[in-house]
């Protein structure tokens, strides 16, 4: 095992298909990147040729476009609007059900059942995001039963980025671009196939089941160069030094009004964010009113009723809500979970309809002395 984890293997496209077949035979639902409605999303995958081969994504503030590549690479893109949280923390889940009886109600939590997922194509920032959500849903005082089950059954095939988008800043957040931990297997795409690294016992078993050979030294070198290229391409920066104290010292900074004048409070940033975990519970009535289901669904601190109490909404301005999101993500999250809530994936920058860029906002807020 110790030897295997040190070794770097080489597989071809055929080998990757064999890996998918093996995991499917083990009872996993394999999900990975696919093209849908002009974006690279995560969905069920059974064949390697379903991957977005020959496509890349152009992400900039307020911009996301697919573009053809000049080559036929399978993973030559970064991140799209989906994140893996939609599988581990699904957007809509039943948490409880009440049935009317002759003298009142019976209340039951649903049986916790789930497919066993295998994720194909998890980037370094996304591995970090999963670790961040682990802190929220399973590593605290209370465990979310569905997340816990899905996480414990999960098989992760990570993919090292070989290029970076203009919105990427994982290097500032210390989360990438290289996949270092938290995976069962990790791939690096090179000219003639994929380098394969093993990260767990389950990963070793899967690797044993597929045709592979030791990577040649020039193949390993090519992988290294490509990973290095991704790092070199990252130009966006967020200064995280003392960021908690710097932001919390600026809760009354006039710049919050400036952001609020641009922010639509649309909640896109929180929905594409791979770590945002806020949710609400809705009552859903059966037509006869004899059965009531409580559903948990994704919510956002940008929605005006999010902070509603009997006396009204606590944060009834966009200024207050943007401030809550940014300071939670980058400052108070550290107090709550011992880690930043931001992994530097850049989704909130690309998918903001008006192109608000949190790295710019932080630079403006934190430049100069606190007012």
């Amino acid at each position: 095992m110790a030897d295997d984890t040190e070794k770097l293997w080489w597989i071809d496209r055929e080998g990757l298909q064999k890996l998918i077949d093996y995991l499917a035979k083990q009872g996993h639902d394999i999900v990975g990147p696919r093209i849908d409605q002009g974006a690279i999303v995560y969905d069920s995958i059974r064949r390697v040729d379903e991957l977005p081969r020959g496509w890349t994504d152009d992400s900039q503030p307020g911009v996301y476009r697919l573009q053809p590549r000049s080559d036929q690479e399978h993973f030559g893109f970064n991140v799209g609007p989906h994140s893996w949280k939609k599988y581990l923390f699904p957007p809509l889940t039943e948490v409880m059900r009440s049935r009317r009886t002759s003298d009142g109600w019976t209340m039951q939590a649903p049986d916790v059942e789930s497919p066993r997922y295998a994720f194909l194509g998890v980037r370094a920032c996304e591995l970090a995001a999963i670790a961040v959500q682990d802190q929220v849903f399973v590593n605290g005082q209370t465990q979310d039963p569905l997340y816990q089950l899905r996480r414990s059954q999960l098989f992760i095939i990570a993919v090292n980025c070989t290029q970076a988008a203009a919105t990427c800043f994982c290097t500032s957040m210390g989360t990438g671009p290289e996949c270092e931990k938290g995976f069962d297997l990790a791939l690096t795409e090179i000219e003639n196939g994929f380098l394969l690294a093993i990260g767990s016992e389950a990963g070793r078993k899967a690797a044993d089941a597929i045709p592979k050979r030791i990577a040649l030294s020039d193949e390993s070198q090519s992988g290294q160069q490509r990973r290095h290229r991704a790092r070199e391409q990252i130009t966006r920066k967020l200064d995280t030094d003392g960021i908690r104290d710097r932001l919390l010292a600026r809760l009354d900074h006039p710049h919050w009004d400036d952001v609020a004048s641009r922010c639509l409070s649309c909640a896109n940033c929180t929905l594409v964010c791979p770590t945002c975990f806020c949710h609400s519970v809705d009552e859903v009535h059966h037509l006869t009113d004899d059965e009531i289901v409580r559903n948990r669904r994704w919510d956002s601190c940008f929605n005006v009723d999010f902070s509603h109490v009997a006396g009204g909404s606590v944060r009834d301005t966009t200024r207050a809500r943007y401030r809550q999101w940014l300071t939670h993500k980058l400052a108070t999250w550290i107090d709550q979970f011992g880690t930043s809530g931001c992994v530097g994936c850049g989704r909130c920058i690309a998918w903001c309809p008006v192109g608000i860029d949190l790295t710019q906002e932080v630079a403006t807020l934190c430049g100069g002395n606190a007012p």
Binding site: V95, M96, S98, R100, D103, G104, W105, T106, M107, Q108, A109, P110, D111, V112, E113, V136, F137, G140, Q141, T142, Q143, D144, P145, L149, L248, L251, D252, F277, C278, H279, S280, V281, E283, H285, D289, I292, R294, R296, D299, C301, F306, S307, H308, V309, A310, V314, R315, D316, T317, R319, A320, R323, Q324, H328, T332, D335, Q336
Partner: protein, 281 residues
């Protein structure tokens, strides 16, 4: 799968008694249907339950009865103010409600042993403090001087008015003030934090303060406590925010670094102070 540990599961309880209090406020006594659960149910003063009306939703309500009670007798004092509390108001004795709890942090009563304690209450803030009063009455010798400062909007809105004599008889020094006096009112008039300023003598090194009421009232009470020489670490508040999961996951109750449902509702003043003065936080 083990659904017993599901933190979302509410447990059915029967409404045993409804006692009208002041205007639009009533005290409900609940009994958990499952007698094993009822026997093992314990709470500490300051904690809350999520009360559930199927089809309407949940609301966070503090326990207002003695902490010596178990799940055969859970006491909540509820003001009808929102959607769920309006639905609760419609329920009668013998009807059913869901209970999930106890949740949140308690008042640190253990830390009061051999110390003087000042309870400061505003309006319905009396309800989460009443279990503390019962604890102070239960074992008077374990505490130093015991004082309750209580502010109500008007004399007819003094909660638990019929119990206050028994609190006084047990040796608790009770001072009441109202915002608007009536002709027959001979007590204090004005906001409750002024009573802290007027307390005859106070030994700040051995005094702790628990404050519960509207945010602005707790803010000024803490300021008055500090002015009387109390340490920040000796002042405790109970916060209110939108709560849905009540175990620190749904995010609604966030207030600065706090999940009010989990690190609160009872917070030590030094951890609340940085956020208490920021508008719309």
């Amino acid at each position: 799968m083990n659904t017993a540990a599901n933190p979302w599961l509410s447990h059915t309880a029967v409404i045993e008694e409804i006692r009208p209090e002041i205007e639009s406020v009533a005290t409900l006594i609940l009994r958990l249907e499952d007698s094993n659960l009822a026997g093992s149910y314990r709470f500490s003063p300051g904690q809350f339950n999520m009360l559930y009306v199927p089809g309407c939703g949940e609301v966070a309500i503090s326990m207002s009865g003695p902490a010596t009670d178990n799940g055969h007798r859970i006491t909540h004092t509820i003001r009808t103010v929102g959607r769920v509390t309006q639905a609760i108001e419609q329920l009668g004795v013998g009807e059913m409600i869901g209970v999930r709890g106890p949740m949140g942090t308690p008042w640190p009563i253990e830390s009061l042993h051999d110390r003087d304690v000042v309870l400061v209450s505003g309006g319905l803030g009396m309800a989460p403090l009443r279990p503390v009063i019962y604890a102070l009455m239960e074992e008077p010798k374990r505490f130093g001087r015991r004082t309750l400062l209580y502010g109500a909007r008007s004399p007819d809105l003094i909660l638990y008015a019929d119990e206050i004599d028994s609190w006084r008889e047990s040796g608790i020094d009770v001072h009441i003030t109202v915002d608007r006096a009536t002709d027959d009112w001979h007590g204090h008039v004005g906001t409750v934090h002024l009573l802290i300023d007027r307390l005859a003598s106070i030994d700040p090194s051995r005094t702790a303060m628990f404050a519960c009421g509207p945010e602005i009232m707790m803010h000024f009470s803490a300021k008055s406590g500090l002015a009387r020489g109390l340490a920040r670490e000796s002042i405790w508040l109970s916060m209110e925010r939108n709560m849905q999961c009540a175990f620190g996951m749904c995010g609604h109750c966030q207030w600065g670094s706090h999940f009010v449902c989990r690190t609160g509702p009872v917070l030590r003043y030094d951890t609340a102070e940085p956020f208490l003065t920021v508008r719309d936080l």
